[in-house]
Structure formats: structure tokens, C-alpha cells
């Protein structure tokens, strides 16, 4: 039995890994193409007023753009797979090191954001689903729709106006590393974390509510109720447990989105993460840095999805056996 379980898990994982590799190849093609889709000469555009024939030739050779395109592609893939993402057009720094330097800030914001989102959405989603059609359900639905519709950068500005500028409780912007100063880190992460978490929490609340309602309408829930089981047992054992899969899905998607997508929030709070790096790279037309960030974020997205898939297989035997 154990062998069957293990082999089915391995088969499922192998299938998912193969799928991820196919998508990764597509992601690599997109990242590689970015610099080649630029109308005109990307090196010339990136140099701007710093242009000189020598600087041009040096940068062109350093970025490998003087080689044939097929050679460039395989060179790019080979280097990327070994962790070498080239050098910045702007300052010549290795892209991989620049990205790794920014990763902790983005990771800490993502973790705080998703924890806040879960703390809001799980109780709110369950509460609303159990009271479907009542006023409390309507309040949760309307609040979550408000959260989905609010621009996160506007919410960030409002939070800064209230908690930083008016009340002076928290800093308006900036970042301190967790390892250097835990208390300082916490003070700085609260407002951007809340901004990210409130929006993600609103999206997740809607999703969790509808997932629970889907499960609650299943025949086995009716059977459990008709057997005379206490309502909390039906809720916990039959409804919440079976709604875990969609909850996992939405948590994974939101985590992946926060990891790669909170560009504007990072800009509002001067948060030195990957998102703000992408923004400055786009403004400076630093193509290798844009390529590297795009690749890293897509790989993080694929990894999060892979982990979610593995958790699916652990939680739900139907998935790994299908």
C-alpha cells in the first residue's frame, strides 16, 4: 500500500515537473526575446547620453549581442541554468547578485502579506459561507468586493496618510533587514504588508466563500447532516476539509502574484525589493536586469505552483491517482 502511494506520488510529481520544464522553456524564450524585440539597437538605447563608440563596443561584447542569434540563445539558456544572468547595462554589476540582494525584501513582504491575507480571508470566508444570504454574508461580500476594487497603491497612500503622516505611529517608507533589526523590520513592513494583505485577503475571501458553498451543496454533506452529526463536525470534517484544495490554489496564486507583482506597492513604500528593481530597470532601459527579473519572477511562480501541486497530491488522493 505504501509502495503504491509512493509510486503514484512520484508519477504525479514527474508529470508536473515535466510540465513545469516545458513552461520554463517558454519563459526562457520570452525572457531572451525581450532584448531582441526592442526596435533599434538596445545597447545604443540603454547607453543614451553616455554613448561613445568604445563604451558601445565594450557593452555589446560583454552582453554577447555581437554573436549570431542562435548562439546567443543557447549561450543565454546555458548561462541562466548555471545562475549567470549577465551584467547590468547601467553599472556592470552581475544581474544575479543584484537580484539576490533584493530577494529578502520581496520575500519578507510576500510572507507578511500572505499571512495577513490568510488571517482575514479564512475566518471571513468561512463566516460568510456559513451565513449565506444573511446580513453578515452581505457585509463580507461587499467588503471583499471593495477590497478587490481598490487600487493597492491608493490604499498604500491612504495608510501612509493615516498611520505615518497624521498619527506618526509608523514610518512612511523604507526597509530594515530582519537579521539586522527585527523591531525596525516589523515597523517598516506593517504598512506595505497591510496594503498587500488587505487586497489579497479580499480576493481570497471571495474565493474561499464560494469554495465552501460549492462543497456545502454536495450530497455527502447533506448525508452527514441527515445522520444527525453536530453542525461543527459537518463544517470542520466535511466542508472545510474538502474546501482545502481551492484554498490552497488561491493561496498559491496569491503568493506567486505578490512575489512578482507588487511593483507599485514597493515603489510607494520605497521598498527595496524585486518589484522596485524592475521599475527602475524599465525606466533605465537596463535590459539584462529586466530579463533577469522577469525570469526570476516566472521561475518563482512556477516553483510556487509546483509546491501547491505537491500539496494537492498529499491532501487529496484523487489528484495523485488521476
Amino acid at each position: 500500500m505504501k509502495t503504491f502511494f509512493t509510486s503514484s506520488i512520484v508519477r504525479f510529481l514527474a508529470r508536473r515537473l515535466l510540465y513545469s520544464l516545458v513552461v520554463l522553456l517558454g519563459v526562457l524564450i520570452v525572457a531572451f526575446s525581450l532584448v531582441h524585440l526592442v526596435p533599434g539597437d538596445p545597447v545604443r538605447i540603454a547607453l543614451g547620453t553616455r554613448y561613445s563608440p568604445d563604451a558601445y563596443q565594450t557593452l555589446r561584447a560583454a552582453s554577447g549581442l555581437d554573436r549570431p542569434i542562435v548562439e546567443q540563445f543557447f549561450g543565454y539558456v546555458g548561462s541562466a541554468l548555471t545562475g549567470d544572468l549577465g551584467v547590468s547595462f547601467r553599472n556592470g554589476d552581475p544581474v544575479t547578485l543584484t537580484l539576490l540582494d533584493r530577494l529578502p525584501a520581496t520575500l519578507s513582504l510576500a510572507v507578511v502579506g500572505i499571512v495577513i491575507a490568510l488571517l482575514i480571508s479564512v475566518p471571513a470566508g468561512i463566516w460568510a459561507a456559513l451565513r449565506e444570504g444573511r446580513i453578515s454574508d452581505a457585509v463580507v461580500r461587499i467588503s471583499s468586493q471593495f477590497g478587490v476594487s481598490i487600487p493597492d497603491f491608493w490604499m498604500g497612500l491612504l495608510l501612509i496618510a493615516l498611520f505615518a503622516s497624521t498619527l506618526g505611529w509608523l514610518p512612511t517608507s523604507g526597509y530594515q533587514a530582519l537579521s539586522d533589526n527585527p523591531a525596525g523590520w516589523l515597523r517598516h513592513v506593517i504598512l506595505p504588508g497591510l496594503t498587500v494583505g488587505l487586497v489579497a485577503g479580499a480576493i481570497m475571501t471571495r474565493y474561499i466563500r464560494s469554495a465552501l458553498l460549492d462543497v456545502a451543496s454536495m450530497g455527502y454533506v447533506r448525508t452527514a447532516r441527515s445522520k444527525g452529526l453536530p453542525p461543527w463536525v459537518v463544517t470542520l470534517r466535511h466542508i472545510v476539509r474538502n474546501a482545502l484544495i481551492p484554498v490552497l490554489t488561491i493561496t498559491g496564486i496569491q503568493l506567486a502574484t505578490i512575489l512578482g507583482g507588487v511593483i507599485v506597492v514597493e515603489v510607494v513604500f520605497a521598498w527595496p525589493g524585486i518589484g522596485r528593481l524592475v521599475y527602475t530597470a524599465v525606466a533605465a532601459r537596463d535590459y539584462p536586469l529586466i530579463q533577469g527579473a522577469v525570469l526570476l519572477i516566472a521561475v518563482l511562480f512556477l516553483l510556487v505552483n509546483l509546491v501547491v501541486d505537491v500539496l494537492y497530491a498529499v491532501v487529496d488522493p484523487r489528484i495523485r491517482l488521476s
Binding site: 471593495f146 491608493w154 474565493y207 524599465v282 532601459r285 527579473a293
Partner: protein
């Protein structure tokens, strides 16, 4: 007998349609959203006539005035009237949202229908391309496109259009797959119906519900994406006003002039909320089972 059944089905369709409209119009939230949206569109179309001041009428002596009778939403750091700029920016935001969603709609639905209808290798290849596009967060992909082309309204339309195309492709494909196996499609095929007629007569009308819902929700998020790009200075370019850019300008005046940030943000919020609520109402009527894929990967 056949004629009678056809007549019954036709009247059944008609009564279902009437019931749908009744359900849609009977929902006060949906009707209010629709009315608000009509109001916003009218304001956007007539903004140049009804705005009390010009887009960029600078009056430094009047800078940073709080809301008054002369300036309902106050003035910015250059003394420009925020109320007029909020009205005028509505036009640009709605225009970009409509154009980009139209692009995503046409390209995405075409890809999705062909993929779902043909199946096989073509379907596998197209859906892997869609999977690859889904691996990038929406705003990141939009930024990458802006980095390739120069910032501006046309680039913004293209960038937002491209990033929302995969969602339409997935929705159209999923709906096509379910319609393709319906008995009436099989019957039509055995009667020798051509592919184009089949797509136009049977497939497209039957996938309209989910696609219409998706359009409403996508319009909401296209407005958010445009505001985000303009906030970053990579969307609509000055001197044309945009809600996102106004919020960017407000950043430095959070403490001194709250009105600079509150009103443009409220305009984005109200428009997005109205589209989302309308989408919710349409979903209840047209496609109750659909999960809001786009919400799950909403851009930041």
C-alpha cells in the same frame, strides 16, 4: 411534431431570456452599478464641455487650495483644478481600458475558440503558450512590453491588451470544449455544416455568457492596470491627465494636501467597483458556475 417542438423551444428560449433580464434588472446592486457606469461614460464623453477649468490651466497663486466652492476637489501644487482633471482623465482611462479589452477579447476569443474547436496538436501548442504567459504577473509583463516599446497611450493599450489575452483564450476555450460535445453540434456536423458556419451559428452564441462576464471584469482590471502604469510614469504621458499620474503627483503632498490623492483614487475605485459589481450581476445570470480566474491573478 417537429415544428411544435421547435416552437416550444423557441418560446422556452424567449422566456429564459426574459427571466434572465428580469433577474439582472431585479438586482438593485447590478442596476445601480450599470447606472453609475453610464454616468461615468457620459461624464467621460462630455468632460471637455462640463469641466469648469482647462486640463492644464496653471494658477500658482491658487496652488494647494483645499476643496471650496470654486474648486470642488481643491487644487494641486501648480494650482490646477483637480475636479476638472478628474473628469478629463476619465476619458483617457476609459478609452484605454475599452481599446485594450477589445484587443484582448478579439485575439483571446479567436485563439480560445480555434483551440477548443480544433483540439489536437494546435490546441496543445496554443495552450502551452497561454500557460507561459500566465507564468508572468500581469503588471510585470505589461512593464516588459513598455520597456520594449516607448511609453505612451498606444503602448499602454497594446501592453494591457496582450496581458489580458490569455484569460479570454482560456475562458473561450473552456466554453467551446463544453459546447462542442453538445448533441446539437453533433447533429449539425452530420448534416454537413461547414466549420465557419458552425463557429458563427452554434459555438460563438453559446459561449457568449462567460465571455461577456469576463469582459466586464477585465474592464475593471484594465482600468487598474492603466492607473498602475500611469502611476509609474509609464502609461498615459503628461500633459494628458490620468488618474494614476495624479496619484503619483499626490505622493509628495500626502500630509499637506490630502485632496490631491483622495479624489483621483476615489474615481478609480468607483469605476472599478462599478465594473466588478456589474460583472458579479452578469455572472449570476449568465454564468453562475464560472470562477473569477482574472480576480485570482489580479495585477498589482
Amino acid at each position: 411534431m417537429t415544428d411544435m417542438r421547435l416552437a416550444d423551444e423557441a418560446s422556452g428560449d424567449e422566456s429564459a431570456r426574459v427571466a434572465s433580464w428580469r433577474l439582472l434588472l431585479g438586482n438593485p446592486v447590478t442596476t445601480t452599478s450599470a447606472v453609475v457606469l453610464v454616468g461615468i461614460v457620459v461624464v467621460a464623453l462630455t468632460a471637455r464641455r462640463i469641466a469648469p477649468y482647462g486640463t492644464n490651466k496653471i494658477d500658482v497663486a491658487d496652488a494647494l487650495q483645499p476643496p471650496t466652492g470654486a474648486h470642488w476637489f481643491g487644487t494641486d501644487e501648480l494650482g490646477r483644478d483637480i475636479f476638472s482633471r478628474v473628469l478629463l482623465a476619465a476619458h483617457a482611462s476609459l478609452q484605454i481600458a475599452l481599446a485594450s479589452v477589445a484587443f484582448a477579447f478579439v485575439v483571446g476569443v479567436t485563439i480560445g475558440v480555434i483551440s477548443g474547436y480544433r483540439g489536437g496538436l494546435l490546441d496543445a501548442v496554443l495552450m502551452r503558450v497561454v500557460d507561459v504567459m500566465f507564468a508572468f504577473p500581469v503588471l510585470l509583463l505589461a512593464l516588459a512590453i513598455v520597456a520594449i516599446l516607448a511609453p505612451g497611450s498606444a503602448t499602454t493599450i497594446l501592453a494591457i491588451g496582450i496581458v489580458y489575452t490569455p484569460i479570454f483564450a482560456r475562458v473561450a476555450r473552456a466554453s467551446t470544449l463544453s459546447v462542442r460535445v453538445e448533441p446539437f453540434v453533433a447533429v449539425s456536423r452530420t448534416l454537413g455544416t461547414g466549420h465557419l458556419y458552425m463557429l458563427g451559428r452554434h459555438i460563438l452564441p453559446n459561449i457568449a455568457g462567460p465571455v461577456i462576464v469576463q469582459t466586464s471584469v477585465s474592464l475593471a482590471f484594465a482600468i487598474l492596470s492603466e492607473a498602475a502604469l500611469s502611476f509609474l510614469g509609464l502609461g498615459i504621458q503628461p500633459p494628458e491627465p490620468s488618474w494614476g499620474r495624479m496619484l503619483f503627483d499626490a505622493q509628495g503632498f500626502v500630509q499637506r494636501a490630502w485632496w490631491m490623492g483622495v479624489f483621483p483614487g476615489a474615481a478609480i475605485f468607483a469605476t472599478v467597483l462599478a465594473f466588478n459589481l456589474l460583472g458579479d450581476g452578469l455572472r449570476d445570470v449568465l454564468d453562475p458556475k464560472q470562477r473569477t480566474m482574472i480576480e485570482a491573478r489580479r495585477q498589482r
